[in-house]
Symmetry: C2
Subunit: 317 residues, 2 copies
């Protein structure tokens, strides 16, 4: 279903603001608690969190993060899941969300209904309450920004900052070719992230969303260089399919496509890596790959695999 329609009766413009907000609350159903804890007052009122709190914001934009081929339901779920991936990468659990919607009057009401049902699906699945939002009109737009709160509970928050030279680099799942479907179907690594935050040997973590080649630099300490073993990078079947179309190496797609929503993290040098990997395998079916380690940039050999030759996704390219 195309998100825009030329039939006025089928478009949100025919609803008007008050009815649209009422519809949104109906579509969100039980994931939207009654005011003042949900939509319906000037602010939503939140219970006091039990631990450290985290917050993140990410949008979905028509023509950028989805097109007319994606169902509204998948797009709504994607909006929440993009943010869930960020919360997962801190080792936190998600709590509350607010959604800011900017749309053209010609957006199809049924598409929007599917979109909010998709948010509600994912909210129920991952235990998130959608407590607030805003709807505004702008010609030609179909953009939604979701702000997600989370809490780290008793455990620590795992940041990007903490890795040292000599540590191993790991990545969950498989990378590349996300555009062929994974970007709508992925599972945010919440349980994995929470488990990793409990392992003291894990020193730093982030989610891979702009492509490993770009993102991995954020985990590097001063003078650190990511020395990767090309054969260890988990290349997805989609990256291989895409490579056949583009004529580029599948490794290129695995490293630079973006929207993988996997976790990359580092393991302390003194940790028993085999034991850690066994503990992982006992707990998760999710694939885990040790893709290399952090070396001193001075030790980087000229012939070695060079991440600088691959670029991740730049949003303003």
């Amino acid at each position: 279903m195309h998100p825009f329609t030329k039939r006025k009766a089928e478009a949100v413009g025919a609803l008007g603001e008050s009815k649209l907000i009422l519809s949104i609350r109906n579509w969100l159903g039980t994931t939207n608690p009654p005011a003042p804890f949900g939509i319906g007052d000037d602010c939503a009122v939140l219970p006091r969190p039990r631990g450290i709190q985290v917050v993140t914001v990410d949008p979905v934009i028509f023509g950028r993060h989805f097109d007319a081929n994606a169902s509204g339901r998948a797009v709504g779920a994607k909006l929440l899941k993009r943010n869930l991936s960020d919360v997962a990468s801190m080792g936190a659990r998600p709590t509350f969300a607010v959604v800011s919607l900017v749309l053209d009057r010609g957006v199809r009401t049924e598409w929007l209904r599917q979109f909010y049902l998709g948010i509600a699906d994912a909210a129920r699945r991952y235990g998130v309450a959608v407590v607030g939002g805003d709807v505004a009109q702008a010609d030609g737009s179909l953009t939604a920004s979701l702000t997600l709160l989370g809490e780290a509970g008793e455990t620590r928050v795992l940041t990007r900052n903490g890795a040292k030279i000599g540590e191993r680099i790991y990545v969950t799942g498989e990378l590349g070719g996300s555009i062929l479907g994974h970007h709508l179907r992925f599972e945010p690594r919440l349980t994995e992230g929470a488990w990793l935050a409990k392992q003291k040997a894990v020193t730093a973590m982030m989610d891979v969303s702009d492509g490993l080649a770009k993102d991995l630099w954020s985990l590097m300490p001063a003078n650190g260089f990511p020395a990767l073993r090309a054969e260890a990078v988990p290349i997805s079947a989609a990256a291989k399919r895409l490579a056949r179309k583009t004529g580029r190496p599948s490794l290129y797609h695995a490293l630079s496509d973006g929207e993988d929503y996997e976790l990359a993290f580092t393991l302390a040098q003194q940790a028993d890596a085999s034991r850690f990997e066994r503990a992982w395998s006992k707990t998760f079916r999710t694939r885990l790959s040790c893709i290399g380690g952090i070396i001193h940039e001075a030790k980087r050999s000229v012939g070695s695999f060079d991440l600088n030759s691959v670029r991740g996704y730049e949003h303003l390219r």
Copy 2:
């Protein structure tokens, strides 16, 4: 300065994402704490709030909430202040903000700098830390959504729900004609809101942003009807100026223009209204008007001033 430019070198597209994010952090200055408490990780990490927490989200959209005549600085301040007004209306104090920016590559970098300086101005003034954000590109867009957190501290949160039939209705400041400048220059009623939340006699509160004629219905209890005294409605000088242009009554503008960002609240029937008004006058210079009371809708006389004849601002009109 027009927010869009055709000179590529002056546009954000020339910066690229990484440099743009770095620039934003510089522009925000001290209002953006270092990661992981500010921008720079997958999530921002927040200290545990001391009391009940509130959250709200509101955007500014080019062509909708501002045009090329408004300075970037005023627009940035407006974005934060719109949300501050919502926090004020709960009687809470603001704490943390995240900003989601969706923009065309052709947005002028200098305009954007002014915009973030404006956010930073207001953030410093009202004690807000800008802890996170996102930047995404969409052709033809210039939209920013800000999510604001606040906390109610020791005092209660004041919601829209709580007024009873027989109570007086008050409004702060003066209403109407906001489009002539007030919508960029207004002061969110934070100190007034916090003070009102401490007065037990105040039963319900909201901010007036879509025009009193539309907004006031949100304060009405079941079967309640807002009986206003037309002569008591505080009409701004701008509403009178606008009325001379439009040929409409200035009262119409006061009741329906929107973007007043004033507080409307109700006072318990048993409260000593004169004493309450004296206490207000001792504490604030801000004008306070008792504009009427809540009557049973059955007692509404046909000839009386009827809010239904005036409509507030509908966002999807």
